[in-house]
């Protein structure tokens, strides 16, 4: 092989870079799936669990727009067939009262940094 003194170190760097996730997690403990602190008083959120999982960020974003900009206050829950105040701190966090044990658990694992907390200062 020609220029082996350049090609072989190059290939070693290539292999190290592209196997980064494999050796980065080497020393760490086996990954444990996230467990959330769920409220004990209720079985359901405002909508189904699947809907809340995929759409909660969109829901909160719409709530912000509707409440702050358009002035409407109440949200009709199809699941509970009941009106709720559109408020992160008064409605959501009434049950999910611990940000660190609920919101942050998933967000931290997926490098998600929602800007909810730029305005809502939640004291632990």
């Amino acid at each position: 092989m020609y220029n082996a003194k350049y090609i072989i170190p190059g290939l070693i760097i290539f292999a190290l870079l592209f196997t980064f996730p494999f050796w980065y997690n080497l020393g760490a403990d086996a990954y444990e799936p996230v467990e959330l602190e769920l409220p004990e008083d209720y079985d359901d959120c405002l909508e189904s669990t699947e809907y809340m999982r995929t759409e909660h960020m969109k829901m909160l974003d719409e709530w912000r727009d509707i409440y702050v900009r358009d002035g409407y206050q109440m949200y009709w829950s199809e699941l509970k067939e009941q009106y709720f105040l559109m408020s992160l701190t008064k409605t959501c966090m009434d049950c999910h009262d611990n940000k660190e044990e609920f919101c942050d658990r998933c967000h931290d694992q997926t490098a998600v940094d929602p800007y909810c907390w730029d305005c809502h200062h939640i004291e632990p």
């Binding site: 090609i7 290539f14 592209f18 996730p21 990954y31 490098a111």
Partner: protein, 351 residues
Amino acid sequence: MKAINSLILVLALIVIAMLGAGALGIEYLFGVIIPYLAVLIFIVGFITKMVGWGKSAVPFRIPTTCGQATKSLPMFKDKWSRLDNPGTKLGTVGRMFFEVVLFRSLFRNTKVELHPGQYVAYSSSKWLWIFALIFHYTFLIIVLRHLRFFTEPIPGVIVFLDQADSMLQILTPPLFISSLLILVALGYLLLRRFFVPSMRYISQPADYVPLFLIISIVVSGMLMRYVGPFKTDLMPVKELAMGLVQFSPTVPEGIGLTFYVHFFLFSVLLMYFPFSKLMHMGGVFLSPTRNLPNDSREKHHANPWNYPVKVHTYEEYEDDFREKMVEADLPVVKPLEEKAEETSENDEKKE
């Protein structure tokens, strides 16, 4: 037709993932076996290909005309020649660095135009360069961003990259600038092959397949992030990804079908990589016009595979046949001295 066939091929791959992971329910194959196989084929195939290229002959120095060799032609004062046509190792490293990082060869791209009255004009064309640059860097950012699924704890750099990429704060979840830009760049790279006649003429399935494949990967990823019915729960995805990199693979419940399509297409891209033109990722480092210093007038370059040749010089030939040459009145470089002395001695004896 070549484009349509390539599109059908990529659509078939999507159908395979949908049938396999969805209808047949063999998630383990698409979530564990194929990804492992893909990483193995990618790394082993890449190294094999590079070693194969390393074994093939290295050409003699190819001086490029974009600069002059400054050492042997000191009358040329252009300081950029040290980078464009370097004679030193440092200059060559610099040229390679800017080639890999900024694509300077593409920056020199020109286009030929035929003007009325049979005038041919060559003009600068930077579109390919700018869109290639956008494509490669957004692809890099996107690959790095995905490390959030494969690391725990997530390195600060990756978190920062994620936040910087979504800093526009439009859409929920926030739009990644890189996702939008890569689609624009891929769109240019594809439409260029459709609408420029000369490009369409030379475009092969090997050009279209990677484009359609990468577009499908980007689109399936974006669907999973932004569009309701395609969304998937990220926590089982992270569990699957972490299982893969910690060699304890699991296939958790609740991962959407879009994820398997996305994951399978990327696995196919990895497997296809070593056998495709995408190998320019490694090949760029072996470009002979870029990585050889122009020192052909300063150093003697012996062909490395020269074997010792038996030579018989003219001088040796004359030594062998001098007498006969002189007898035949052929001119000789070295006169026949001994013979001359002998004849003079004979003459003296006669006297």
